[in-house]
């Protein structure tokens, strides 16, 4: 009788361990998956290279935002700098400004310090805010895994809805060889009141340094 009791207890213990461990494995995955198309993106308050704090809510007249997780060091990010400037110049006046965010931990990637961000912004004459995700919490909420990683947001009833996730275009190495400018096409479609036709694309990038 005792034996049977013991085996039931053991069985229950095993079941609860199994259940608990399955929860453990599900939770981090759900967090790291980040946003998908149609999700409401969070606002933030992050320090810009000019020392001021920047939030999406300050942009009263914006129709949306081109949020780009990027950094100083990644060759793919560096190859995209001029294109990001050009996108901001083209779309800021149309209501979709670029907001760049550096998600990297400078302790892991020493060239991604705030001071080096300031140097980069000055040297490349960035026309857009270049923000420092110091707590590394915003990139995680968005689900950015790499630099560059683009999230196109559109304002709908005061909320920021994710409309496009992925690459700037189909040729990160060579701007002159681009055949499909995915991001520009998506913004143009939103501006024309259309649904974005290519909602997600993939590109090689440097993993976010945590």
């Amino acid at each position: 009788m005792k034996k049977r009791y013991l085996s039931i207890v053991l069985f229950l213990a095993l079941v609860s361990v199994a259940v608990l461990s399955s929860f453990k494995s599900i939770q981090p995955a759900a967090v790291s998956n980040g946003y998908t198309i149609g999700d409401v993106a969070t606002d933030f308050k992050l320090k810009n290279v000019d020392g001021k704090m920047v939030s999406l809510s300050e942009y009263k007249d914006a129709k949306g935002f081109i949020v780009i997780f990027t950094c100083n060091t990644c060759p793919y990010a560096v190859a995209s700098e001029d294109r990001i400037n050009a996108l901001d110049k083209e779309y800021k006046s149309k209501g979709f400004p670029v907001i760049a965010i550096n998600p990297n931990n400078p302790e892991v990637q020493p060239d991604d310090t705030f001071a080096k961000m300031q140097e980069k912004a000055k040297e490349k004459q960035f026309t857009f805010p270049y923000l420092y995700d110091e707590s590394q919490s915003i990139f995680a909420k968005y689900g950015a895994t790499k630099t560059p990683h683009v999230y196109l947001l559109q304002k709908e009833k005061g909320k920021h809805i994710v409309k496009y996730i992925g690459a700037i275009d189909d040729n990160v190495r060579d701007a002159s060889a681009v055949k499909v400018p995915f991001l520009a096409n998506a913004v143009d479609e939103l501006l024309a009141g259309k649904e974005v036709s290519v909602k997600e694309t993939k590109a090689i990038g440097c993993s976010v340094k945590q």
């Binding site: 790499k146 690459a167 694309t201 090689i204 993993s207």
Partner: protein
Amino acid sequence: MVMVCIACGNNTKEDTTVTASEVIEDKTAVVSPGEGPIPTVDYDGLEPYLTKDNDSTYVVNFWATWCKPCIKEMPYFERIQAEYAKEKVQVVFVSLDFPDKLNTQVIPFIEKNNIQSKVILLDDSDANSWIPKVSQEWSGAIPATVIYKGKERKFYERSFSYEELKKEVTSIL
């Protein structure tokens, strides 16, 4: 489980020297003459490395010389290649360096670090087309690794310690 892993580790160390020649033979078979030490391929050229259907286990790692976590884990892949050669494990390093860096960065890096595993350079700019063919799960960040044997295939968008990599490779052997 741990016992099994320790056992394989011990066995393979002794046999490393014996199997080195097999690995080299296989390398020469894949590289056609005139391709140089590091062949440059587009995705069609890479695909055969991702779809071999035989009794070998292939560990295909996507890396670049500028990618710090990639460089850090390369010795673990080299060790796996050496220790598990007898179990027909073959490591392939796929460099995503820009092709104009092949002679100035990739080849010097390979020579300086005496990399023994196979290295190829993927020159295919339309990543949106080929990334999902490698794995639907891949966002495009590197390091990334495919481990497969025949039809069994696993994909990892992450870095490995030696122990973690050994665990994954031995689970598919």
